[in-house]
Symmetry: C2
Subunit: 319 residues, 2 copies
């Protein structure tokens, strides 16, 4: 994608670029995705201009522990959706580490089947840096892909650390990927799964113990509103069943109003995140007059405790 | 620690409790740590009362990838500091996962040497939940341990995801733990290491390749201000050298003023985090009048884009 990112900044504000996005132009999309990662403020007017053309895509979160085969599963589901002539976007959230050189290449290799297909757009986002965190960046990317006509957008994350619950603030539906090896751990995961999952997938069903894991999950969640599907991404088994399950759930939730209330929830989360950003930018300006640094020094010198200093500053910022 | 957490809430506001903390009472400390995790607002007056008694502890961050032996290394360093009759606090940040039952037990087992020692206080914090995130909770825990007379406080984290840079906003000094297996990866980690590390430890020096890794690191960071030490926590080798290195760096930084400017930096980060919390609590009150929900509905119905809606709300919250 590197060759796309040198698109001139001047082009960004042109109506032409908006048109390119709405036409699903890959080059324009890739270029804007780079601007998201850089936190470019010019992006805002593009996002505003394309927003009226969004709201059609279904966003499907795919999460699970490392090594459960999430990327391969997304690759196979993408093949299935493409067979139905649906356009697909894939956003992978890479949990970058100070101590490794990143997982980007891995994703690209695992999803190689679709790189030549202009109906599939793939992009990785690093969890590190970026104003407002990675969720804010992913939301912007979703809007762009939605406006560009992607009908299905996958968001892949690893369910760990402070980031783990954010998938539920981004996606219309969450697929949690497990493996047969998890066996006895499943019991302990009940609360976590109940909190976010719509569909539970036991992937790697080619391994022994898959049926038992499915039975365990069914016993555990017997009375709850989950779909439980077993797949083998590597052998392309169970994929059409999984995709059919996703589509059935989507159409049911559209009929019974759940989709609409989920949409309201996602809008609320996005607006809250944007408002936090705006308010804190204002606060930062307000305390740049030296009042903040004065308090910092007083705290460092032990003249005041940080809680009282924060109260004092908050009072000064008269809301 | 469970038996400690049933301390009556009424006791919390008594001068007696403050005294207990200042005397290093383990039961009182454990009870207040639980209140931190629950985000109890009553904690604030205790923190304010003990704050004048803080500022003596040295906070040492220990970070690195999973499996590098951070906990064992902290265990051995604690033994060394205890030999010097220094009181030690250990705060471990557990990256909880929706998909596992937590690492708490693991930490406790690995640090079992010190459970009977009243001069060592150990506590794990989950990355999940808690207002203001885990950094805010850890900062409060640091102040309590500091007031309770702990002279050295270790904070253990895994350097991954959105949480990875926060250790540098909490600790006076950061020790990054590597292993010989990392060999060729080291080159790619240069920027990440340079950003946060004060001391690089090549742990598991009993494995082959340790000397080569140390040489690689020395070549890579030849001109930078790092200490590079190799240890084998499992064989208790290199530990006193590492502890001596930490103490040397601390006393040098106290002499050349680096410690003081680091302290200012930590105060700034804490005050910023507290101010964010306070300001957003005020904002939440201000938009509870229905103005926020009105905008959410308009966004969900496609009448306005979320960016314009956030701008509108931010203007309404007249700072």
């Amino acid at each position: 994608l590197l060759q796309y990112s040198d698109l001139s900044r001047a082009q960004l504000m042109t109506g032409n670029l908006i048109k390119q996005i709405l036409n699903g132009d890959v080059r324009a999309l890739a270029s804007l995705m780079s601007l998201i990662e850089e936190g470019d403020p010019k992006l805002k007017s593009v996002l505003k201009a394309v927003y009226p053309h969004t709201g059609k895509a279904h966003v499907i979160g795919v999460t699970g522990a490392a090594g459960t085969g999430k990327s391969s599963l997304i690759d196979r589901m993408t093949t299935e959706f493409r067979r139905q002539k649906k356009s697909v976007g894939i956003l992978a959230v890479d949990p970058t580490s100070l101590f490794s050189t990143g997982a980007l290449l891995g994703d690209r290799i695992r999803m190689h089947n679709h790189f030549a297909d202009s109906g599939v757009f793939i992009r990785s986002f690093a969890t590190r840096g970026g104003s407002g965190g990675v969720s804010a960046a992913v939301r912007k990317a979703i809007h762009l892909l939605d406006a560009a006509g992607k009908e299905v957008i996958f968001v892949e994350t690893i369910g760990v650390g402070q980031d783990q619950l954010e998938i539920a603030t981004l996606a219309h539906m969450v697929v949690v990927v497990l493996t047969p090896q998890m066996g006895d751990e499943v019991q302990g995961m009940k609360a976590g799964l109940a909190e976010i999952a719509d569909i539970l997938v036991v992937n790697k069903a080619d391994l022994s113990g898959a049926d038992e894991t499915v039975q365990q999950l069914k016993a555990l969640f017997g009375d709850e509103d989950f779909d439980i599907v077993s797949t083998s991404a590597i052998q392309s088994e169970g994929i059409s069943l999984l995709v059919a399950g996703i589509e059935k759930r989507l159409s049911e939730s559209l009929d019974n109003g759940k989709y609409q209330s989920k949409r309201l929830h996602l809008c609320r989360q996005e607006l809250l995140s944007l408002l936090r950003e705006r308010v804190f930018a204002k606060v930062a300006k307000k305390i740049a007059d030296g009042s903040f640094e004065t308090q910092v020094k007083q705290v460092a010198e032990g003249q005041i405790d940080p809680y009282s200093a924060a109260d004092k500053l908050a009072r000064r910022i008269d809301l």
